[in-house]
Symmetry: C4
Subunit: 274 residues, 4 copies
Amino acid sequence: MGLYRWLHNQLVPEARESGISLTNWFIISLVLASFLFLALETEPTLLAVPEWRVAFRWFNVTVVIIFAIEYVLRVAIAGMRPEYAGFVGRLRYITRFYSIADLLAFLPELIVMVIGGGIPLIALRVFRLFRLIKIARFVPAFDVLGAAMKRAGSQLLTTLAMAMALVYVAAVLLYFIEGVGQGRPEFNSIPRAIWWSIATLTTVGYGDVYPVTTLGRIAASVIAIAGIGVVALPAGVFASAFSDELRERQLQKLQDRVEEAEAKKGAAPEESGA
Amino acid sequence: MGLYRWLHNQLVPEARESGISLTNWFIISLVLASFLFLALETEPTLLAVPEWRVAFRWFNVTVVIIFAIEYVLRVAIAGMRPEYAGFVGRLRYITRFYSIADLLAFLPELIVMVIGGGIPLIALRVFRLFRLIKIARFVPAFDVLGAAMKRAGSQLLTTLAMAMALVYVAAVLLYFIEGVGQGRPEFNSIPRAIWWSIATLTTVGYGDVYPVTTLGRIAASVIAIAGIGVVALPAGVFASAFSDELRERQLQKLQDRVEEAEAKKGAAPEESGA
Amino acid sequence: MGLYRWLHNQLVPEARESGISLTNWFIISLVLASFLFLALETEPTLLAVPEWRVAFRWFNVTVVIIFAIEYVLRVAIAGMRPEYAGFVGRLRYITRFYSIADLLAFLPELIVMVIGGGIPLIALRVFRLFRLIKIARFVPAFDVLGAAMKRAGSQLLTTLAMAMALVYVAAVLLYFIEGVGQGRPEFNSIPRAIWWSIATLTTVGYGDVYPVTTLGRIAASVIAIAGIGVVALPAGVFASAFSDELRERQLQKLQDRVEEAEAKKGAAPEESGA
Amino acid sequence: MGLYRWLHNQLVPEARESGISLTNWFIISLVLASFLFLALETEPTLLAVPEWRVAFRWFNVTVVIIFAIEYVLRVAIAGMRPEYAGFVGRLRYITRFYSIADLLAFLPELIVMVIGGGIPLIALRVFRLFRLIKIARFVPAFDVLGAAMKRAGSQLLTTLAMAMALVYVAAVLLYFIEGVGQGRPEFNSIPRAIWWSIATLTTVGYGDVYPVTTLGRIAASVIAIAGIGVVALPAGVFASAFSDELRERQLQKLQDRVEEAEAKKGAAPEESGA
């Protein structure tokens, strides 16, 4: 039972008052390394080198096995928390969001490794993105992300709707000026004009599509100067909601700690105060 | 008369305390779908497929008929509101901004469908943008947009004027350096240099025009570093006015609700308080 | 003398409590029109049309004559203000910044028109930019611009210095990686690398210069993500100083008006209050 | 000993209550000039001119000698401050960060100048970047930079992690859509797709890589609109922390001065107040 307790303390983030256990740091590093390897593995210049191919294969096998063991251990010790105790509890644990992500992070590749053949391995790589959720658990801000969205709520939706409307109207305008009027292939349909419109209003400006007629350039100039502010509004609204949310939580945490400290002190001095 | 009341409740947004009626959700979806179809309809790769052409035709006919019926019903039930009752009231209803937009959203296409011939359908599509105003009715923020502009008022104008002046001066400078001095065709007139100047100062940077001489690049660098902030000022001013306006309204709404609640409670306790 | 007073009231902005006189509105419009014409005049496609050439010539002559008359009138009525009365006062008026700009806005072109020949007219056009200062007089914000810079002061300088340092270091890095290491011509000197560095860190990104080696791209990525925020700092500092300055002035103006109103009211009620 | 005191007052910034001594202004100018020359020195068009080559050589020799003398003097007068007095103090002075930077700013080039031969001079130029630290000493904001980072701390890390995750996920998505699906060389590995992803999400948009398929463009559009805000978050967080830090310091300095002034005044009036 000592091993169980130790494992619980190592694997479950909530078991510690603060900080991240060594085991979890190892898992985080492994996930990050697996993202690095996922990227390198797709590079043709590296795939041409046999040594790299062997390294990729061994790394992948090792990671899948470690994540499989981790998953089994997590399910095993889940019972130590009352809400996941018993058979029904285990079922509840296995079917929760984080556990499913944990499973999808290794199972598809494990199956193909054991069974082999048939399925192209490349398509399975996309499942590795679930490993992102393995880390998300340790980053409290991913939680904040959702809360910030809820907080920005109607304001975010409103500004997004306005941005969309502007992108669409700008595209229709340029479609008529450059596409219908001038017969330029880059603007000869509204979806294509939308591609221009997004590239311009987000100020990315790849330069693959741009107006060349005088009227088109005048329209694009007016749209750019007036529109960039509107398209940047949702990002601004979200950023400020995110920052507010984060600050509030930090304040809340501070307050909690102060109250706790006062509660501890409070018991004794109260008597002397009376 | 029960049908009239039901229609009134379904069609007029102000008839409900909050939320949007099913009928209006249907109209919103229809407008959004019509924008999607308007975009797809211009795509040559889809127009080449006969099935898509048939689908576009049927969808357009259906939408026009539904909007025509909606318009007739809206005029019919307008009389239920005292301000639009009677013949003069109806006239007042029909001539208001939203009603004209409702009419323009289907009438031009309906006429061409019935009469046929002559007029190219493509030019009529631009009238579909009036459908945007059909939705604007349900998005309170379009209202805020105007209020925010009024609020930013002189500050917005001032910063816009400064941005324009900077765009112009930058263009004149580069025109003299790159156009007159080097004879480069992209800068051989001030209007063309303005196109560069806007693309640079909004940071879109398509890459179709850029200075190549040493002096031109030095000038462009100084302009970019000093000017991007100035050109971004109007957007910033507007964003902050928009956000202030929205926050104020939300506060106002909250306060109204609190006052209402207190007014309800107030009647009884006042006596016991005395 | 009535004409003098009328002219004074029409020409001198400070003579009116608020708003801009009709004569000054006319001058503002003329300046704006002259900027439009300056731009059009450089367009080769318009210069090819004889009618446009005639229109440009007549417009320029008219504008220069009007500005000459305006200048003479301004000097004539300057004596009505005590600080510019007498010969010394006139001298003081003529040598102040705005008057010199007024003079340079028409004199060079007038001289060439009268004397003709020799000097290329194109170089004279740059003097028309002085007309911008003619309008600046009526836009109180140009004043704010300077005040905002003073207010942002050391913070603006500090952030600008940091931005410059970053631009330089980024350029040196890419020069060594892409230029020295790979012999790419776009990066084969630090000044050229600075051109890339500015285009990237301001997010303009023309696309005429970009790293192609793996190491160069990694360096550029890190620089972009870390550096864009730093290079945007001066603009942000300036924007916030500008906005603060403007708000403060509006508040000041409001307060002045309130105090004035109270001073007027104050005289009478004070007695009844005593 | 008077010379020593004068040198101390001239060289050590902390020796003066405010402002920068003439000697230090000279050193700052020299560093800035050496950066200008470093840039010019790499320009092939200038290197082709023998006169420039001679100028570069003489300037470099002069600067290295001046910095060598400066270093020796700084070490010599370091003893005037109690913390650097004695042999151990000198050692402590020589091994501190700023002194090492001072040494590296001239020593490598001095050695090669004296010994000559062998080592390519071009690689040594990178050591000149240490001269940046020579100026950093006089810019209090470089200090603020670090403090702002500490202040933004977890918030900066969190938003950076989110930005990185988004850049990675966007790259994986486009790799599968454009690279695996369409076989386009610009997206045929995740590292290459990351290059696109960074250029897009920072809105640099060089235009060397962009999606061309319909699905790729839809994905890129959604990523751009949703992601630009997220990638801009770290910069925003840092900017606000920087501004807060700077304001706080200015306030602190003001408060210190007020307290000092009160302390001086305080001694006398206190008696009269009693």
